[in-house]
């Protein structure tokens, strides 16, 4: 009896230690200070999505919660913050809803099309790359940002300077993601490791288990800015990843409305304010992209 209780205690202690080990230096995500302006008497003609939002009286937004600087949930306060989250708040404000009237749904990448098709979220903002295959299933407003594939390495590693210097080194990314497919297709290296989250990859990078983490530079900058003494982003980006706001496929009226809101934010400097308060803190400047209305 006593021994089994000790076993349980030991197992619990081990579990707690393990659970904590991915959380070292968890980012203290401060708010960007951005406050959206809430529009009055908004109407969107012929948009079932907007009708649903009005009947509900709240906006349901799909986001990420594990991408510092983009879409991140503070584990202690439960607050969401980041560039994508502020864009989502800006859109909600333009639809006439204050930040308090937003419900955030954390959606894993693999389920994004499904939740939009089923109407479980009104729109989705979370490093969602626009591409033609996805356009068959969902609509995209934007792009509101153009990222590119980059490399995150240890700060003391001067051998990896870009995609052509990866031969023989171990590269990590999220299982099945576009960046890791590109590394495979271009034969940049044969040593590839895939985890479920970027945080796990970064953890393995710090532990010398992998030599580089690759994905959109926006995500990498988020990690590098939190742990500048151990990590750095290197090289030119080697792809274009236009991020869009995912909306239900058939709802063209709603898509146009979101495009209008993004355009307005770009024109009046709100976009720049949002960027400077979030990703801009990494010291990398950015200019807003051109909206693509298809």
């Amino acid at each position: 009896m006593k021994r089994s209780r000790m076993l349980v205690a030991a197992a619990l202690a081990a579990a707690l230690a393990l659970a904590g080990c991915g959380q070292e230096g968890a980012p203290g995500a401060e708010g960007s200070g951005y406050q959206p302006t809430v529009a009055e008497n908004v109407t969107v003609e012929g948009s079932p999505t907007f009708e649903t939002i009005q009947q509900r009286g709240r906006v349901v937004v799909g986001v990420k919660d594990d991408q510092p600087g983009l879409g991140f949930r503070d584990a202690t306060t439960g607050e969401f913050s980041g560039f994508d989250v502020d864009i989502a708040r800006m859109v909600a404000g333009g639809l006439g809803f204050a930040p308090e009237q937003i419900d955030y749904r954390v959606v894993p990448s693999a389920a994004r099309e499904d939740v939009l098709e089923r109407g479980e979220v009104d729109y989705y903002v979370g490093t969602y790359t626009i591409n033609d295959r996805r356009k068959e299933r969902v609509g995209f407003a934007g792009p509101y940002y153009v990222a590119g594939q980059g490399l995150l390495v240890r700060a003391d590693d001067n051998e990896i300077t870009g995609p052509q210097t990866l031969q023989g080194r171990t590269v990590c990314s999220v299982t099945g993601s576009t960046p890791i497919q590109r590394v495979r297709d271009q034969n940049l290296t044969t040593s590839i490791v895939e985890f479920q989250t970027y945080t796990q990859c970064v953890d393995q990078l710090i532990n010398n288990q992998v030599d580089a983490v690759t994905t959109d530079d926006a995500i990498l900058l988020g990690y590098a800015s939190q742990n500048a003494e151990q990590l750095k982003v290197v090289g030119e980006t080697f792809s274009d990843e236009p991020y869009g706001v995912g909306v239900p496929l058939a709802d063209t009226a709603f898509r146009n409305k979101v495009n209008d809101l993004l355009q307005a934010a770009i024109d009046d400097g709100t976009w720049q304010t949002i960027y400077d308060g979030t990703l801009g803190r990494s010291g990398t400047p950015a200019t807003p992209p051109a909206i693509d209305r298809y």
């Binding site: 990448s109 693999a110 299982t175």
Partner: protein, 215 residues
Amino acid sequence: MDVLLDNLDVYWRGLVTTVGLFVVSGIGSLVLGTLVAGLRVSPVPILRSFGSLYVTVLRNTPLTLVLFFFAFAYPRLELVEFSFFTLACIGLTLYTAAFVCEVVRSGINTVPVGQAEAARALGFTFTQTLGQIVLPQAVRSVVPPMTNIQIALLKNTTIASGFAVFQLGSVYSVLSERGYNVLVGLLWVALFFVVLVVPLTLLQRRLDATWGASR
């Protein structure tokens, strides 16, 4: 059908790794589990308690946690460097061995104690008694539960998805990234598993027919 045919490369890569994980961990767990069962019935008290401790710890730890340990904690210990595939095999082997051990032990308990006593009387050592008299008879009654454990192991290999081992369980991530219907993709994965389990079931029937009859 398109989902499968367009992504054959991914499915094939997944299937090969799944089978690899299963074969390595399956053989590993059978060997290790039998050894631990030997410990648990041995006349030496310290070996017996070590066997019990092993089974208690591994059977009561969720597999996810075991694999998590090998993927994230083990590398920090900086002992021997293994690939993530090897680490997953070690995790699956250790975990499954605990269950194999208990099945073998229950099989040993079905052998009448007189058999072991007779062997002892003839001057057999413990190892000889176990290896030549008891285990061969025990094997007969453990075929069905052992098959169940190995089928469970086969399906448990999908948990390695989260720990840097790309197998059938990881296929859906690629499909969603490529924009295919994930549900259809997963149905194909399920079908692959059915195809993988059928031979095991047939093997079980075969062994049951040959060994069970001589009872």
